[in-house]
Structures are given as C-alpha cells and as structure tokens.
Amino acid sequence: MPAGWWTRNRHYVNYMLREFSSVPMALWMLWLLVEIQRAGGPASQYRPHGSPAFIAFSVIVLLFSLYHSVTFLSLAGTILHFKVFDRPVPSRLIVLAMFGMWLVASVVVAFVLVWFAR
C-alpha cells in the first residue's frame, strides 16, 4: 500500500479526516487538563489562557469536533440495530435520535457551565 492511498478518492479522504480529527481534539483536552490543574490554585492568581493563537486553535478544534461528531453520529444507523414490536427500527430514526441526544447533552452541559460560571 502506498503511503498516499487515502488520496485516491473522496471517501478515503473523508475517512482520514474523521480519524485525524481526534488528534487536535486530544491536544485540546490535554490543554483543558492543564487549565484545570492551574485553576486548582488560589482564585486570585488564576488567569485563563486566552491568547489569539489559542482562540484560533480552539475554533479549529471546534470545527474538527463538529465534523467528527456529525460523521460519527451519522454512522449510528449502520451500527445500531434493534427491533420494536418485532419490526426493525429504521436507520434514519436511530440517527435522528442520536442527534437529538447530542443536542440535549449539549444544552445540559452549556447550562451547567453557565450556571457555575455566574
């Protein structure tokens, strides 16, 4: 297999993008751990990191995480399979339920963050 196999077609590129998107997300999560550790000190000394470069990196990570989430959740209909009243649940319904749960989870997390930040 040549190293550039994934450039052969669009599906391969999308797949590699989906897999690669985990890397910037992992880096951002590592940075979050550092921030949590820094926030453990006296409140008066804590200054959140907010350089323009970090904000730009965060925006890029957000785009990657959205891409990863959308592509991953879209595949849920292929992976999950179960029956209700002896009839298989349509894949589209499973995907819709996944996006619904994603929305609910996002709202709950946003609420908690805003609530504790007050």
């Binding site: 297999m1 797949y15 292929t78 298989p88």
Partner: protein, 246 residues
C-alpha cells in the same frame, strides 16, 4: 459509429519475464453503446492479442469472476460501460491488495481460505432427516439476513479496503458479511463455531469503518454494516449476563 475507438490500457505481467507489471495500450473499435469493459477485453483477446489473461464467466454480474480495477475503482468489468469512460482511456488493472498471477488475474487463495474459515453454510447441531419436515422461515426471518446473502464473492470489497491492503490477516468484508448472513439465519446453529474466527483481533476488530467496501459492492451488500453490527453483538454477548447463551 463504426469509426469510433476507445483506448484500453491493460496491465500486463508475466512473472517469468517481467520484473514488475507494466501497461499495454490497445485501440479498439467502440461499435456499440452497450459495450462494457469486459467486451473490450474479449475483443482484444479475440482480435488483437490472444495472450492477454483475465477471468470472466457469466457476463451478467452474477458469477463475480470479472472484478478488476477500472480507472482506479474496483468494478465488475461486465457491469462497467465504456460509454461512461469514453473518450478517456480505460485503464484496467488487477484488483488491488491481491498478488498478481498474470496480467489481470489475481491470486485469490487468501480469500478462499477466509471464506472456508467462516463456514458459509447452515450448521445444525442435529440434522433433520431428509423428508422428515421442512426448515420453516417467516418473511421477517429472511429479511434479517437477505441482503448479506446477495454476496457473489467478487472480492471488490477487499480491493477497496485499505485495512486489508495494510494487513492481509484481516478477515475482511465479504467473509464477515457471509458469516453474519448465516449467524442471522434462524435455521443455523453455528454461531459459536464461527465466533472464534469472526471475533478475534484480526476479525471484526481490525476494521476501522472506512466503509468503502459497501460503496463498491455491485450487489448492494453492506459489509461495513455486517462488521459493525457483529462488533456490537459480540460486545453485548461479552458484557451482558447470560450473553453467551445459545
């Protein structure tokens, strides 16, 4: 119409004389809009160069013999129309990810071993004597596995799978889809016999869900679905109480 021609660039490789595969171009008449790539190869074989080697049989998308790379995409050549490529040259290569025996003929031994390993037939603990009674199934029970039973073993999915290309120990898409076909069959009782092959690390767990196997399947089988669903079922069998019961 009779003057119209198409250029076919076919891989040539004779292991006794060639160090590596090379291309040979043929200019052949494109006399009929319904001509497929296999027709072009047959024309070359009959009228231009009788030494060109390739596999084919039914010419109607059933036998799965004539799978090749057509302009970089795994295709059944009996189902790839020249009109979809013309006036560009049609580049025909042997299926990716398999050793080449000669020209466009690949060595399919690895796939045949994998196919045999998953025991693609109905396994019964106790056979019903012939004539005793029927193995009855409802339409819903057939629907559970129907699409996986459409596989014709053409190996296009293996040629499209980069995971198999990187590690040919991987059981691969078609073998897993067929294992699932029999595991979902209400008449079959061979799940526990197939699981050691399907659920090992080089089985379903090697797949990273590229999904191209399902894209290239000429029969609408979804091997990626078979693999992911087998992953889920295997995990549930492992973590749920009584998950390993029959």
């Amino acid at each position: 119409m009779a003057d119209k021609t198409v250029t076919v660039k076919a891989t040539r490789y004779d292991p006794q004389h060639d160090e590596k595969p090379r291309f040979q171009s043929y200019e052949i008449p494109f006399y009929d809009e319904s001509m497929v790539v296999l027709d072009a190869l047959n024309y070359i074989k009959s009228h231009v160069d009788g030494s060109l080697s390739y596999r084919w049989s039914c010419r109607m998308g059933i036998c799965g013999s004539c799978g090749m790379m057509v302009n970089g995409v795994p295709k059944l050549t009996c189902n790839a129309f020249l009109r979809d490529y013309w006036p560009r040259p049609v580049v025909v290569e042997p299926l990716n990810n398999f050793p080449i025996i000669r020209d466009l003929v690949i060595d399919m031994d690895d796939f045949m071993h994998k196919l045999k390993a998953i025991k693609p037939w109905i396994i019964r603990k106790q056979e019903i004597p012939i004539g005793a009674r029927e193995h009855r199934q409802t339409n819903e029970q057939i629907d559970d596995f129907r699409q996986f039973s459409q596989c014709i073993n053409c190996m296009l999915c293996y040629a499209a799978c980069p995971v198999y290309g990187l590690n040919n120990e991987f059981l691969g898409p078609a073998a897993t889809a067929l294992a699932r076909r029999y595991n979902l069959d209400s008449r079959d009782e061979g799940l526990k016999i197939r699981l050691p092959v399907v659920a090992e690390s080089e089985g379903i767990w090697e797949c990273s869900f590229v999904g191209e196997c399902s894209v290239v399947c000429p029969k609408g089988v979804d091997p990626a679905k078979a693999i992911q669903q087998t992953k889920l079922d295997t995990t549930l069998r492992f973590v749920l109480p009584y998950g390993n019961r029959e």
